[in-house]
Amino acid sequence: MQKEEVLKIVEQCFHGDPPSCAHACPFHLDIRSFCEKATVGRWNTIYKYMRDSLIFPVVVQRICHMPCAEKCQRPLIGDEAINMTMLEEAALKYSTNKDPIKFSIPPKKETVAIVGAGVAGLSVALNLAQKRYNVTIFEKEDSILGSLFSHENAEAFEEDIKLQFSVVSCEFNFNKLINSIDELSSFDAVFIATGYPNNSFENSKKNETINEYKLSKELNALIKTYDDEFFSTSKEGIFLGGELCGYSKIQSIADSVKIANVIESYLMTGKPLKEKEEKFLPERIHMLDHSEEQSKPRVIPSDGNIYTIDEAKSEASRCFLCDCRLCLDKCEMLASFAKRPQKLAQEAYADTNVAPPFSSCTLTKEVFSCNECDYCKTICPVDINLGDLFQIAKSGRVKVNTEPKAYHDYWLKDFEFASEQASYVIPPDNVFLGNSESEGASDNKAYMFFPGCKLGENNPDYVLKSYDILRKHFGAGLVLNCCGVPALWAGEEKLFHSHLAVLTGIWKNAGKPTLVFGCTYCEKVFRKYLPDIESISFYSLLAENPDLLPRNTNFTNAFTESPAIFDPCAATFNQEDSCSAMDGLYATTFNQCSATDNQCEATEDSCSAIEDPCATTNNQCVDTDEISCKSAVRKLCSNIGIEPLEITEKGKCCGFGGHMRGANDELYDKIVDNRISAEDIPYIVYCANCLTTFRSKGKECKHILDLILDIDESQSGANLQDKKNNAIEIKRRLMKKNGEGDFTIPANPWDYLLLNINEETQIYMDNNLILSSDLKETIFKAEQSGNMFMNSSSNTFLAFLEKPNIIFWVEFKKTEEKNKELNTDCFKYEIMNTYFHRMHPRNEKKA
């Protein structure tokens, strides 16, 4: 991928960009940094900001009318804007070092004449003099300041200007009226800013002669040819500016940098050129959400005149320091790495071009810690999906074989298991029977159930009972397979796409049915990568056809207290309906409905808004026909008498996403803990992975299917191995029912080993993605190969097994026992300990 393509993903990100106030400021003063420093009293620093941006800080402070205030974001919460005029005044008063900086650069030979020593001419003169051009100023009066001469602060202005000029060399010619441009023909460039008595550019266009300026006829002619983009005229080397051209004094000073640059480019190239504006484009102004900020009124100076130091600090502290940090603050992963999006993009790209061991990657941890949940995109004001960056980095590294293989080793094996050993297809009835004769088929749609690889692993009933319903009522087929996302998350794009081809083949062979998804992430993968395949959420189908469900009694006792629904991260992506009523509802926290008093008649614990969301905004409802998965689950709950509450922050991943466990266990634990402690109440989930993740940390949690189907909870897979066995069990039962005989997976010689694993070890194994079959294989192979150590005093053995990406170690005791199943004497292995590592010792076997 090209660098530009990667950087384009974060192009719109405005983190670090100048905020709205800086856009409005004619000088684009970095107001955010100014206020940040002013809050802690760094007066000398902010004086420098002022001097560097405002050119004549005393003048500008006094005459600027504060356009920044109109774009200040404090008024968004009802407060007055930051008082920059008074803060600048405080900076001028309290700064102790106002020494201008002398630039030591070699002198230039070009000469520039400035006509008019008002602030317009002076600011351009200063800039060119700083660059060591030979600047000569011609002023018809005997002093500087032009139209500011009569200002009440003229003295302070003069002092300020003299201070700035004190470190440059510039020739001043007072009492020198220029009658014609011809007088200045010896100069390489001329800038005329003579001001205008009526301050009106329009007047000069009307050809009025002004008797004060004998230059006016010539000047009028020049003005007619004025090009305001380059401040130039038809006459080469002659530039105009200031009030002469209708600009305000403030604008003239602000433009001086641009004008000086145009003149310089003319002097260097013979053509006036301008730099393209990149930073301060109007489309990059963004107002942020400050609704959580505290209101603070504007500070009023106690002496009615100027802020004291403390008052100034206090006023500056009112600045929000506007900068978008939504994704950085709300996503645990982004917060933990604290890299701005633009940097992440650059590093993501750089990592795809790394060649170890000469160069190394920068972004490994972040890339493999992403849940790929799209939450950042959901909250980003400009819809940036940082997960896309990480996906690029991952697949880029896989292409050059630099990814840490250990991270996804388990998950890829898991994917292989689900797509091969545990995979199974039952075509839909409709394919063979034509018009479906199954009862309840409302449309002649052919359906095929795609439960996803994890649903059945948790409990075979989730798949079997669900499939029973779909088979009975729709003649639905079934696909037991993985959607391929483990390959995608591992960065294995080739593998992922070839798997998608397999799935497409299955779908085609089945007659292109509508797929019914038991997992929202599977659904997301299909909608994104196989959009031609029609899909529907299983839960939407059930909600649309409530008669399909067994007549259950009230489930209000299923939980210890009123539960909340935890929507899986992919449900947000899949939400197709544009029901604004629903969206507005989900934004409310539970027990805090946004309906006004006369709309809502509910009490605090029986909020009817949640029960019947459309009641709040009925006239805005543009609901589509299909019930979204989110709405469906809520409807299913309400049908059985459960009124679930809503959690505050929706759309975040439970922690499972991206298979980041294995890459960043610390962050994984933190994320899961945050999710389960977000609300003190039990959760209803409708994703098998949310279920496993939350239950493993002891959260009271049920799958929606636990509530609406008759699920035998004793079949729940307690540990990883049980879960794998459940997947096989489902296939075995279905194949038997189908008359395809007794399915068994090919046996390994170590399958028959009897292990006794204590609870602590089992928990360790589940947390580290170790199956009991891994231990069996280790022991079996070690006993054969001799890869073992023994401890004679404790009578334990320590076996190890080297696999490509992991090395298992198992410490065990061996006892002889009768194996009831095989009716032989065999060994029983009591597991004392198990652990693993990833680096390989290079064995040098001695003869």
């Binding site: 001799g786 170690w809 064995n843 040098e844 076997k845």
Partner: protein, 72 residues
């Protein structure tokens, strides 16, 4: 000493290579991970060269180094 763990103390002196049935000796061994290699002193069978890696080492120093290398 490896990461503060005295490899010659009572904890590991009872361990022997199961095939050679002799005591283990500390030896500088080369390890490889993520296309980089480095050496470390670990207990090995002086006869067949089998490397003995106790849990403390695997979950301590080794895990630390693996993490560092993975992040490169």
């Amino acid at each position: 000493m490896i990461n503060g763990v005295d490899m010659t103390n009572q904890d590991y002196s009872d361990w022997k290579c199961s095939t050679c049935e002799i005591a283990l000796e500390s030896k500088k061994t080369v390890f490889e991970y993520m296309k980089r290699s480095f050496s470390h002193e670990v207990l090995c069978c002086p006869n067949c060269g089998k490397v003995f890696i106790p849990k403390a080492l695997a979950e301590g120093r080794m895990a630390e180094v693996e993490k560092l290398l993975e992040e490169k």
